[in-house]
Structures are given as C-alpha cells and as structure tokens.
C-alpha cells in the first residue's frame, strides 16, 4: 500500500485513517479523543508502520528525552559499569543515551560537550579531567568525580571516608607502619580525597604513615622503584598499604610477590574501587567498594530533577570495605 519512499508521517496516518492531522497527534500524545477515532488512528499507524519523529517533536517541545554520557573510555571496568548503570537509569526514566568517549583527551572532552549540545540533549552526565571545561549552564550538567563549581552538581563516592575506612581497617588488622600510594590524573578531583582521608585517620590515631603520589603519565615505575628502595635485607618496612585504586593495588601486589614479600602475611594491602575479576567474579584485592549503581542513579536523579539548583553541589555516596585476599582477616571468611 505504501508507495511513499520515505518514512510515513502523521499526515500519512491522518489520510489513511481519514481523520485530521491534529487528531493523530492527540492520539500519540495521550490526549483524550473519541474512542472510535483512537482505534482508527492506531490501526492506520500500525498498517503504515508509523513511528513518531522525535526530531520534529523535539523541535516543537524543546525536549528530546535524550541525555549525553561523556566518559573517558568504556573498557576500564569501572567506566564500563558506570556507563551501563547510567544508561540503565536513564532508560528507566524514559531517556535515551547519547554516548561520547573522550579517550582521556582534554580537548576531546570539550568537543564532545559541543557535539552533544548540537544534538539538543536534555542534559549531560560527564566524567572528565579538563579543569578548564567550558560548561554552559543553560544545559543541565552533572559531573562525576570532579567538582567544578557550586552550580555544577557533582556526584562521587565518599572518597574521604573511604580513605579513613582503609586506614581504620589496616589499623584494626594490626598494621603499625602505613603507606599510601597514589597514581592518577594530574588534575585535581574528588578521588584525591582518598589519600587525605587516609592521612587524617593516621594523624588522628598517631599512626606512622607515609605517602607517595605520582601522575599516571609517568606510569607506575616510580612507585615500584620506591618500593624497591625501601626493601632492606629482604624486609619491607611497611606492614599496611592503601592504594588509590584496585588497579594500582594489583600492580603493587604483583611487584611485592616478585620481590618475595608475602602478602597478606608480611604486608597487607587495600585498594579502592571494588572491581571484580570478570571471570571469577571475585574481588581482585581487599578494597573500598564504590557504589557505582547508586552513583549512576543519583546522577540521573539530579540531572532530571526539576529544581537542580536546590540540590547540594557535591553528593558523596557511602562506600564499604570488602575483603579480597590481600588482608589477613580473610582466613575467617568475608
């Protein structure tokens, strides 16, 4: 029956159903209309395989029911989980996800923002590193793990509390000489508070502790070198290490093993993120678990909330400790 080459429009449906254009529109917007008309329109639409054109609708309504997710990568387990949870949360609220991957490139981050703005998204959720990001505040924007300004809501896990928790755990596990290791982006962000919380706990409880922070541009070589420099006669002076990420913790664990320092026997190790090995579904190390799912839901809630500006500028979600083989309580299960 369809001789038209392009997709059917409301006009086609109206003609097919023998009703006026406006009536068709009403049917598809749930606006009350005579039952017989409703059925006629519905049938005609089905026959034609009609789908409403969101672009045209958005042009009129200024709503596209599409949100952008801007993220550095999709292959890192934390980001991939975050992406999935964000997409799921948006979908649950009837929103589509426009995905933009920045590859950790600062210029690309800005481009992505411009690009998705052209697509007239209703809002942006972004995990970025560029401290000078130009964010137009006419468009709802929620930042993850990076605080920009009071007018840009930021969602993160309780990094500071997580650092404290890690110190507390190591403390209660009998560690006397603590070490904090950090490898990460050179631009400041919420995750920096992990070390701050850790150090605060140590200071408060008069625990001996030392910290080493490096940029990930240098690779982790400096950290491994530091570890080697500390080893004297096969002995490592620290008995508890908190690493800023699980990834770093695993690298440190492997290096210590290589050097014959047994973990958790001689030194206990706690990471941050709560990543699970994909194959075994087991934690890769003892760790502070980020509530990724809640973070995603919260970010979406804030993005879509009517009065975003009433909300607090920074939302920190609670973390929890999870044993994973690199601390000594594990023998009694967890």
């Amino acid at each position: 029956m369809r001789t038209k080459s392009s997709a059917p429009t409301m006009k086609d449906v109206a003609q097919e159903a023998g009703v006026a254009l406006g009536t068709v529109s009403k049917v598809f917007n749930g606006i009350p209309v005579g039952e017989s008309y409703r059925v006629r329109v519905q049938e005609a639409a089905d026959r034609l395989g009609y789908q409403v054109n969101n672009y045209a609708r958005g042009l009129k309504t200024n709503k596209t029911f599409t949100a952008a997710v801007i993220i550095p990568s999709t292959t890192h387990p934390f980001f991939s989980l975050l992406t999935e949870e964000l997409s799921r949360a948006l979908s649950l609220r009837g929103y589509r996800t426009l995905l933009a991957i920045t590859s950790f490139d600062l210029a690309s981050e800005q481009q992505c923002i411009e690009m998705v703005r052209q697509n007239k998204v209703d809002g942006i959720i972004a995990l970025t590193y560029n401290p000078d990001l130009r964010i137009d505040d006419s468009l709802p924007f929620v930042s993850i793990d990076r605080f920009y300004s009071a007018s840009i809501p930021c969602v993160s896990s309780d990094n500071y509390g997580g650092g404290q928790l890690a110190a507390e755990k190591l403390h209660s596990l009998g560690c006397k000489n603590l070490l904090f290791l950090r490898s990460g982006s050179s631009v400041p962000g919420e995750p920096d508070k992990r070390g701050a919380g850790f150090e605060a706990y140590c200071q408060l409880h008069r625990l001996s502790s030392q910290s080493l922070r490096i940029d990930d541009t240098e690779g982790i070589r400096p950290i491994l070198d530091f570890i080697d420099s500390q080893i004297r006669d096969g002995h490592f002076p620290f008995d508890g290490i908190f690493c800023s990420t699980d990834h770093l913790a695993v690298d440190v664990l492997n290096h210590l093993t290589l050097r014959g320092i047994p973990c958790p026997e001689e030194v206990q190790l706690i990471g941050f993120d709560g990543l699970k090995d994909f194959f075994t579904h087991k934690p890769v190390c003892s760790t502070i678990v980020q509530p990724v799912s809640e973070m995603a839901r919260t970010a979406v809630d804030i993005l879509l909330s009517q009065d975003r500006f009433r909300l607090s500028a920074l939302t920190c979600l609670p973390v929890r400790y999870q044993a994973g083989g690199t601390t000594r309580e594990d023998v009694s299960g967890s």
Copy 2:
C-alpha cells in the same frame, strides 16, 4: 547582551550580525559567502554561543549523523571493547553514537530498535539474540555475529576458521584426543561455527574428538559435571580442549586445576575471543583472537557505505592464534 531565555537560533545570529538568515545558514554549511559576511556571522555566533540545532537540520535534510549501537551489555570485556571501537569508528566518520543496552532481553532488543528509530538515527549496528527481530529495511542495519537475511549485512570474525585453527594448533602441539566445549546462547548465531570448524578439522585429519554443547541458561554446571564424569583414577582422557569462549576456558581451567589435572602439562586448552586480563594486560588463556577493532570499523564502513546492497551479506574477518599459558609451546615464548 542575550536577553532571550532559550538557546540562540540562526535568526538571532542573523540579527546580531546584521545579515539575512540564509547567509548564516550558508556560513555554517560551508557554502561560499563573502569573506566579510563570513567573519561577521562567525563573530556574532561566537558572541551568542550559538550551536546549530541538529534536530531542526535533520528534519530538513533527513540526516542526523547519529547511529545507534545496540548491545547486550557494556560490562562484558568483549562487548565493552566492541562498544568503544564502534563509537570511535563512528566518531571518526563524524557520527554520534546512540547507545542502547538490551541486557540480553529479546523483547528489549525489539524495543531498542523501535526507540532508536524514533530518534531518526541514520543507521543501526546491533549485536542481538532475538531470531525473530523485526527489522525494517528502510533503515540501514548491520548485524554483528548473527546472520538474519541476505539483505541484512552481518559482520563477524571468522568463527569457522578459528575453530579449525584451534584444532590445528592442538594437533600440532601433539594432542591426540580432542574435546570441544561450548556454552552459549540457545539461539543460533555465527559463533556456532567455531565448533563446526573444529570438528571439520578433526574429521579431516582423523583426529579423535568429542563435543559437548549446552545453553548458558543452564550455567556451566553440566560441563563441569561432564569433566568430572570423565576423570578416571585422577586421569583425564582428553589431552586437548577447545572452548567456545575464553570465559568458559577460564572456568574449565580452574575446574581442572581443582581436580588436580595440570594444564597445560596434562591437558592443553584453547579459548576464543582473545580477552586480556584488565590488570595485567596478559591473555587469560591460549586463545583465538577476534579482531574487534576491525570488526567495528568494518561494521561502520558497511553501515555508511552508499550502496550497502552490493556488499556481501556476511563478512568474516580473520582471526589469529595467541598463546596464553594454557598450551605447551608457551615455554619458548609467544
């Protein structure tokens, strides 16, 4: 200067620049225009922070420069890599990515197609399981790993050849009694050819081989039970196993280790996918590597090619073997 509440439009820019609307449009479409005008328009646009409205443009041109990626999940390493590569390839061609996650749900797959169609995407790349998917062929569609019909181009790796390659490798590594294990979706797809290729090689070379295939709805328990049932006096009768995925290979490896069957000493194991451990960047097992990046690029090329119907219905990309510790040649490096 901006007193308008909503985003600036071309009209605003025209007014600001003191030129006609059409002139502004031309500037943003690269259509030649007097240099002085071009500059005036550009400046006015910058001043106003103007961004073209892709929705309005698409309405007129029937092109949105947006493609949909429909995928079961973003957390599985293979899918997450595929998603990233697809997004990257699309971006390189000037396309945005609309991401839809189906969670392996057949009904959701259909919904996603409908949903992205409403957003007037220019095409869809999908990895789906629903054999009865209703695909409107008015919209370019490229399927990954599942062949629907001659009019729906399908991209996959050379699953059949990969199966052959696995058998050949095990053969050349001295295995005499082979086993193929498969756990996967109950709906047929290109990956099923892995086993077929494996068996074909065994038959051709008169190698003793056996196969066990189960649906992943049952979990992998039946496979582990089968393995247990084969063990006699601590001895396992098969000396070479090909698993349909790396994931299965790792599970089998762990189970064999648990039962005291050393791998690769007593039995050698090859998986399929080529996944790397995220932390160590090392293969999780000896494996047949899928060319994910090429698959993504190919899918995008096909999707955006003008005459898609000239192309072959099924494009199989070459795989390669990679040693990863579960086969015996590894001692001499890889």
